[in-house]
Symmetry: T
Subunit: 146 residues, 12 copies
């Protein structure tokens, strides 16, 4: 089983970016933790980070046949991208939406996710653990998919 | 470590209730799965189900000192109960909000959670696994609490 | 055939409560009129009144197998209770929503019923006769149910 | 006692029109059922159907002195006609609003009735029985009127 | 003269609950201060605290004939309970709404009180003194009532 | 100079219709008063009343070349008719909107006029005098038109 | 009979101010035309112009006993002044609201008048003639007042 | 194949009506162009224009069996007629909605079409060509229908 | 200790103004009652009434150093004055907002106070007693301030 | 004459993507159909597909001088891209907006097009034929442009 | 060239007022800095501060002929004064709106400026430098004006 | 000191794009003017223009350590990009938002800036001078930063 982890815009800055909201962990450390979890569960994991909505749409459009499930942190595009939403709907691969911070405890506009209605489920607020739990959820979804 | 799992209104009907939305699993089977997970992680788990907003508020008001974390599926009260929200804020114990169905893929009024802004994080859409992932999250939060 | 008539909050005060809106009839007299109508139609009727949202949810959760239809005046909970709505959806028994006063001729917040989308139909504005007409509707629904 | 039954726009198409929403009954069969009920209750019933808002307004404007009560299914005009609302207010005859389908379980715009605040009461969701129950209600109102 | 003081949900946690918003005073100390004030004014005071909306509605339904005025801190139910509002309207006893914190300086949803339109007046923001001032107001209202 | 006075729906019922809002004057008396005023000002006046939106649109569509100005009381259609609005725009004859009652002191939906943005001016609240003042305004507008 | 004509803010600039909206007439010419009309109708007219909300409130507060009716062009304060609205309500003298331009054909915020619900009627869109018609209306209202 | 072209209110005034928005073409010229296009495509075309919502509803109610497709320019009724919407739904004939002007580049209220959700598709903004393109679309839809 | 009592617009008309809402008491009698209460509590009280938003802002701007607390009835400016709000914030003296009538039982626009978020607390609905209770609150706040 | 056809995000997935909404046709087949139509009309057609908002903006910025008209299916960017809207406004080439599905019969957010106010016209709901009709419209617009 | 700098309500308190938002600078120091900048640019500057909306309107009404440009910090009146907006429109002198704090990073109601649509441009968030930059902008605008 | 000037989408078309709104100046001329101003102030300036949201996010993510301040004209992305907003927040470099046109005097959707709450200040409406004033502001901010 192969699972794709998609990191949205500005997540490349993690660790340097507003540590009071996002903590001090870097994207590299998140990826290492996910690789470890993947190995424990005997699945393969790939990573993709982009600040470009279009590149994320391109990537999702190519995942069919290659991955059984997707873990996506759409970050800022959570609230503004119909294109990513449509891409997820189009490919028909189960997706898990994750957020480091609790998006429901922040600014009003962050409480509306355009992505959530088309993913299988959403996990938000647990920092790095949001990714780890989301990865576990994706494994289960991938099993059913096969 | 002790963790309390709170089941909100109508969850006693699970399995009989709208199986196309909630699946066929019963609350008893969810509790068994959680007990197994708790044993694996060497923590204690207690369960509480009520259809009464006031009983849930009463219960939360008494958890301090006894539990290190709470997993709560507020069900219908997610969208209408300021009292449960205030109870969670008041006791200062980390809480994890879980939902069986993806509340963001249903009626509009189910997309607003009054509880989410005061919990640590939220997990929705994975069926029974929402509880299991939420329990894992609660264990991590309970460790920091201690 | 057995039909349950559910009276929501404050209906125990009927007759004493704002007679310009609700008239002078008491809940006892409504129940007597319904018993007479039930007898004429050769069906059994039970009554339940509670000011507690949770007790109404509990009661609805237990009606399957015992009743063929429900007549409910959710009163104040019409506008605030997702829990009662979910209970009605969950049990799959046809329900009829009734109101003594015309809720569309009162305050704005009384014009939105959270219950209406999950019941079979709604009758409002005819005083005691709302119950009687609703009971007749319930008998018809109960016949189809059998 | 004479009661007028007013059928609004497109009800002439009943039976042919979207049978999953409105059933297969025709307006003729509804009228026959009402005539039977009228005879049982020893009252006279007249019928009027029009697709024209203006004709319905004209008709209501002429009912005073001739009818003691009105049963009206305003259909599409429920949501758009201030003119029919004003006509009902103007003539001061008790009116009962009926709907075949449960308008609260359909599109958002069907949940707002411009007519409801000026009628005595509203019955919706019981198919043909909505008319029959509405007719019974109208008889009671007509009695008080006399 | 007898005055009832009603404490809403979570007020049993006072002193332990978010002291930066609600201060460190406990419900016991508030009651003691009210008893002292009652004695000075030669009136009797009773107390009732509940986390259950239904119990508060039950209690209000029974006050007629026994109390001349009510002081109520509806707490979380301020913003969600039509049932308590209807109970206050139904019994026709003058009521005073009090809040420890200034509800107009907090979250948006706390700025709307469903209770305020049916009470005589509202006092918010003065901590324990909100209760004391509310009690003085209730004495005046009770005098007129007699 | 010829001026057309258009009376909208239900104005044929005037005098009989809700006299607390609209007074006891009839449409005949309004027309007589307008004829008298027309004679004093040496202009010709014609009248047209209809409950049919379409007839009013038809009538407006034919006024060019025949009338120099229009006085219109759109009544209920004030708030719902884009068709009448478009007809007025289309013919390019100056129009004066009049209302017997003060539409800004009534229900919320009566405060929005779809007609007002395309007429020259609006007069509301003065009973019969609204028509008389509107007629004087129309004469002035008709003079400029010529 | 004495009638007060109140000119609101910026009307002192009339003639110089945005002539495409307000025309080239000055406040002096409006006052002269009103004096002429007053003389023809054998009533007395006084004028008051102020850019200060407070001065207008002061003035209205003193009119009782001195004037039988008021014509007011609240200009910008139409949309923002509860104080002027309350002053008009307080003194109980019939008031007529006038506007030079058609406020319903301009920016959205100009379509809401805080003043309109408390005046007898409103006239807008006829330039200077709005004042003249409003003055005629005020005379009629003043007669009834006497 | 027979196709019906329905022209809504005020389209009889075309050419005379606001030529800066609607151009100088008349309804007769549109019909001639459509007849030519029909002839080229070997289909029959009929025309119907009315300013009356009710007549349009009547007409649509009679088209089944006679026409295979409808081209409708609902004009002003686009934004206000639930009755026409329901008529189109009721008859189950494919319909094409056309507009001469680009309704999305005009007043806000013209941006909402009550008709669009029940037609097959919508064409707006191309003047006479909107009708011609809509007619071509209707032919294709009519072919599938047969 | 010195306390300033600020009366907002139209309060000079009290007693004459809408006695069904505001009672028959005059501002003079309120001031006398406050002087008596001040004397009993051994504090000094000054009064200031103005219909001018600017004068109230001027006055508040000068109170620092002279007064320990302010009681303000902003009347109409409650709902429209950001300037008074900013003045209260700017001077940093504890303020108590009072209203004679229950502003939450009146028109919608009176339910929003721009002032409430920056005062210590608010008292509304008790007539003259609102001032007396507010004055007692101000004394307590002034004590802490010293 | 040269016409550019722009395909927005996810249209590269057509045929594979949600065939119940978008049908089974691929972008290649649409382009072939358009080339055939272009040849029949003796115009040149170019195609451009991108999932990147920025690339679409880049492309539009370069079309002046090269193309006489544009057919654009903005897909997801219809509802979120001010940048594409501004690009179309900036270049001053007539544009036609097309949609495969009827966007007015889908989710609420798909009913608002940010692009529509700046294009010449919009065609939606006819599947591949939307493109073909749009292309015919573009040819007409391109002729006027030359 | 002469430029007028207008300071709105509460700016007289600057330095003393909420220094965390507005800094410690006083209005006198701002004026000194502006005089220095004026001298460097060989223009004359006058200052006017008022807490009275009416005085600011009066002042603006008199500036024509005397000043070539205006710099205005409307402070609280930014969000509530249509009168100041209308005054600026009326005099036709280019105006620059300045704010010390970033009004878009504060309370929601501060994000809407009634003044901004009628000024040439707006500068907000740079403290004293907002005035200096605004003054430079005013000089440029004044040059074009001459 | 180094300052980065970021030009958003479509600004490459400046001079050719809607000259009635944006003037005839080109981006090259703006950059030349800024270089001259930079030289006068002895600071270094770099420029970056992109139509791609993602490239702007990439660029901002790399500025830390290289620039002391940023001047950004987000153009269309002002109203739609949470990603750029988050990038600015993330890097912690003071930013100045500039707009050529007065965004508050245009379409409604242009009045909301998603960027404004996270920049230091905003300047809009002065054409090229918006950039020059913004650059001066950035120099001051950069000084404090060092």
């Amino acid at each position: 089983m192969k699972i794709l982890v998609l990191h949205g815009p500005n997540l490349n800055l993690l660790g340097k970016r507003e540590p009071d909201i996002y903590g001090k962990v870097t994207i590299q450390r998140i990826n290492r933790a996910l690789e470890k979890l993947a190995a424990e569960n005997k699945v393969t994991v790939d990573f993709f980070q982009s600040n470009h909505e279009g590149e994320i749409v391109d990537k999702i459009g190519r995942i069919r046949g290659e991955y059984q499930a997707v873990v996506i942190n759409p970050a800022a595009y959570t609230h503004t991208s119909v294109a990513i939403r449509d891409a997820i709907s189009a490919v028909g691969i189960p997706a898990v939406e994750v957020h480091l911070s609790n998006i429901y405890a922040r600014e009003d506009f962050r409480r509306q996710s355009l992505i959530a209605p088309v993913v299988k489920g959403q996990i938000s607020g647990f920092g790095v653990q949001s990714y780890l739990l989301g990865f576990l959820a994706a494994i289960e979804l991938g099993k059913k998919k096969k």
